[in-house]
C-alpha cells in the first residue's frame, strides 16, 4: 500500500542532499514512505488522496458541473469561468454548500486543506486523475 512514488515532488529529496550518501539514502526512503501517508510540507494531500479527490471531482462533482467541468445544472468550473471568483468564495461554496441551490456542503468528506488544494487544481485546470 505505501506508494514510494507518492513522496516525489514534495521537496524531501533535495533537503537530504547535504547528508552523507549512505545515510541520506536510508533517510530518504523513510521520508518518502512517510510522505505517502502524511500531508507534505507544502500542505498537499498525499498522492493517493489527491487521486481520490480528482476522481470525486470528475465523477461526482461532474454529475452537476459536467465530467469535463463545462457546466450542467451547476455552473462551469473551468479556469476562465472561476477566474473572477476569489479562493475564499470557492472554498466556502465547496465546504459549506450554497443554500437555496442544489450545491451541498462537502465538509463531511473533504477537509478544508484538501478543498484549498482542489481549488488550486481548478485554477490551473490540471484535474485529470490517474486511470
Amino acid at each position: 500500500m505505501p506508494n514510494v512514488r507518492a513522496g516525489q515532488g514534495c521537496g524531501t529529496a533535495r533537503t537530504a542532499s547535504y547528508m552523507r550518501p549512505a545515510m541520506s539514502k536510508s533517510l530518504l526512503v523513510v521520508v518518502l514512505v512517510m510522505g505517502s501517508a502524511l500531508p507534505s510540507l507544502a500542505g498537499e494531500p498525499p498522492r493517493v488522496r489527491q487521486n481520490e479527490l480528482l476522481y470525486l471531482l470528475e465523477q461526482d462533482c461532474g454529475s452537476c458541473h459536467g465530467l469535463r467541468l463545462k457546466g450542467g445544472l451547476g455552473p462551469p468550473l473551468l479556469p476562465a469561468d472561476i477566474a473572477g471568483t476569489p479562493d475564499a468564495a470557492l472554498v466556502d461554496a465547496i465546504l459549506r454548500g450554497r443554500p437555496g441551490t442544489p450545491m451541498p456542503p462537502w465538509d463531511v468528506e473533504i477537509t478544508e486543506a484538501e478543498v484549498r488544494w482542489l481549488v488550486g487544481r481548478l485554477r490551473t485546470g490540471e484535474v485529470a486523475y490517474d486511470r
Partner: protein
C-alpha cells in the same frame, strides 16, 4: 495460350462470389427487440448489448462528453438518438454499430425526446436555455424554442418529454414554468405556458398513458401536476409540504423522475433530501404513505408488472440497491452490486434488471425473481442503460 487457365480462374472466382452472396443471403437478418445500449460516460462511447444471452455486441465511440447522456429510440428500434452534455445529438445505427449522423446543436444539453409519430427529435438545452427540434431522419433543425420566461429571463430546460398529439412538454428550471409545444406544424410550434408552477423544477415525467405530466421541485417540498386532458385547469401542487417542515439533508445527487414507479394507483417517487420514498395515490393525488430506505433515493423504478420497485441512492451511500415489495410495502432485499450504482433498467417483461456500477467498471444483471446476479459485463464507467423497448413507451 493462356486462355484456359484464365477461364478456370474466372470460374473459381465466380463460384467464390456466388458462395459469399448466398452465405450473406441465408444469414438470418438480426432484429433489435432484445438489444439496448449502455453509456460509457467517461469515454464518450456506447456499448451495444443484447439481453437474451446478456452479452456485449459492439462499442460505438465518438459521442462527445457523455456526462448525463440519455437515449431515445426510433420507432423501428434501429436507431438510437444520443443526447450528450456538450450539445451533441448523435444518431447511431445499433444494427451496424456505427454513427450515421451527428450534430452539435447547443453548448450544453441535458436530454431529449422523440415525437409520437417518430418524425421529430427534441433536445432540452441548458446553454442556450431552450428546446431545439430536429428532423429524426436527417437531424436538420426544424424549430428553435428559446426558454425565455414571462419576466424576460432565460432558463435552463429540464424534464422534456413527448406527449400524445405530437406534443412536447418541458419545464424551465430557473423560472419555474412548464410549457407545452404542439408540433402539428413543426416549423411553428404552438406554445401553451404555465407559470408559477413552483421553485426550481429539477426533473419531470409523463405517465405511461401520456395523460399526467409531473415536475419534481427542488426549491420546495412538493410536485407540480398537469393533466394534459385538461390543460385549461392549469397546474396544481401535489404532496405539498411532504417534508413536514423538517430540514432536508444536503443532496449529493439529484433524483430522477423518469423511471418512476407506478403500481396500480400507487406511484413511488424519491423524496428530495430524505432517506425515504413517497407513495402517491394517483386516484386522489394524496400521499399514501412513505417507506424509509437506505439513503437518498435517485431512481425508483418499477418492474414492469408493478409488484417490485428497485431503488438506488445518492453519493456516498450509492453501493446499495433496495427492492421494495409493493404489496406488503416492505423492503424485501438490500443488494450490494458495488460502488456507485448509477442506473437500473428492466428487460421489457421484467424477468431481469440491468444495473450499472460506475466505480467498478461493470454492469450486473439480476434475476428479479431470485434477486441473484446472473451475469456481469465489463463496461467502463457505465451510466445510463437504455433498452430498445423504450421505443414504444410514451415519455421514454
Amino acid at each position: 495460350m493462356t486462355g484456359k487457365p484464365v477461364r478456370a480462374a474466372l470460374l473459381i472466382c465466380l463460384i467464390g462470389v456466388a458462395a459469399a452472396f448466398l452465405a450473406a443471403c441465408t444469414r438470418a437478418p438480426r432484429a433489435t427487440g432484445d438489444l439496448g445500449v449502455i453509456i460509457e460516460r467517461a469515454a464518450g462511447r456506447l456499448v451495444v448489448i443484447e439481453t437474451t444471452g446478456s452479452t456485449v455486441l459492439a462499442r460505438v465511440p465518438g459521442l462527445g462528453d457523455t456526462s448525463h447522456a440519455s437515449v431515445v429510440y426510433s420507432r423501428d428500434e434501429r436507431y438510437a438518438y444520443v443526447f450528450a452534455r456538450d450539445g451533441g445529438l448523435t444518431k447511431v445505427d445499433i444494427l451496424r454499430s456505427r454513427v450515421v449522423n451527428r450534430v452539435i446543436q447547443a453548448g450544453n444539453s441535458v436530454g431529449g425526446a422523440i415525437s409520437q409519430d417518430g418524425r421529430l427529435v427534441a433536445v432540452a438545452n441548458y446553454e442556450p436555455g431552450g428546446v431545439r427540434v430536429f428532423d429524426a431522419d436527417t437531424l436538420r433543425q426544424v424549430a428553435d424554442i428559446p426558454a425565455v420566461a414571462a419576466d424576460g429571463s432565460t432558463s435552463k430546460v429540464i424534464g422534456l418529454v413527448d406527449a400524445p398529439g405530437n406534443r412536447f412538454v418541458f419545464s424551465l428550471y430557473d423560472a419555474g414554468e412548464t410549457w407545452i409545444a404542439d408540433m402539428a406544424d413543426p416549423a411553428a410550434p404552438q406554445l401553451t405556458k404555465f407559470t408559477d408552477i413552483g421553485r426550481l423544477p429539477y426533473d419531470a415525467l409523463i405517465t405511461g398513458n401520456g395523460r399526467y405530466y409531473i415536475a419534481g421541485l427542488f426549491g420546495e417540498d412538493g410536485l407540480a401536476l398537469l393533466d394534459l386532458w385538461h390543460p385549461e385547469a392549469g397546474m396544481r401542487r401535489i404532496l405539498d409540504g411532504y417534508g413536514r417542515g423538517e430540514e432536508p439533508l444536503p443532496v449529493y445527487k439529484m433524483p430522477h423522475l423518469e423511471g418512476w414507479a407506478v403500481a396500480g394507483d400507487i406511484a413511488v417517487l424519491p423524496a428530495v433530501g430524505r432517506y425515504e420514498v413517497l407513495l402517491l395515490d394517483m386516484a386522489n393525488w394524496r400521499e399514501a404513505g412513505r417507506i424509509s430506505v437506505h439513503g437518498q433515493p435517485v431512481f425508483a423504478v418499477a418492474r414492469p408488472d408493478g409488484r417490485q420497485v428497485w431503488v438506488n441512492f445518492a453519493h456516498p451511500r450509492n453501493d446499495t440497491v433496495q427492492v421494495i415489495d409493493l404489496v406488503s410495502r416492505k423492503i424485501v432485499a438490500t443488494l450490494k452490486p458495488g460502488k456507485a450504482v448509477l442506473h437500473m433498467e428492466f428487460t421489457p417483461r421484467g424477468e431481469r434488471v440491468w444495473v450499472s456500477v460506475r466505480d467498478e467498471d461493470k454492469v450486473v444483471v439480476y434475476d428479479t425473481a431470485t434477486l441473484q446476479p446472473v451475469a456481469e459485463l465489463p463496461v467502463e464507467k457505465p451510466s445510463g442503460i437504455f433498452l430498445t423497448a423504450r421505443a414504444h413507451r410514451t415519455g421514454l
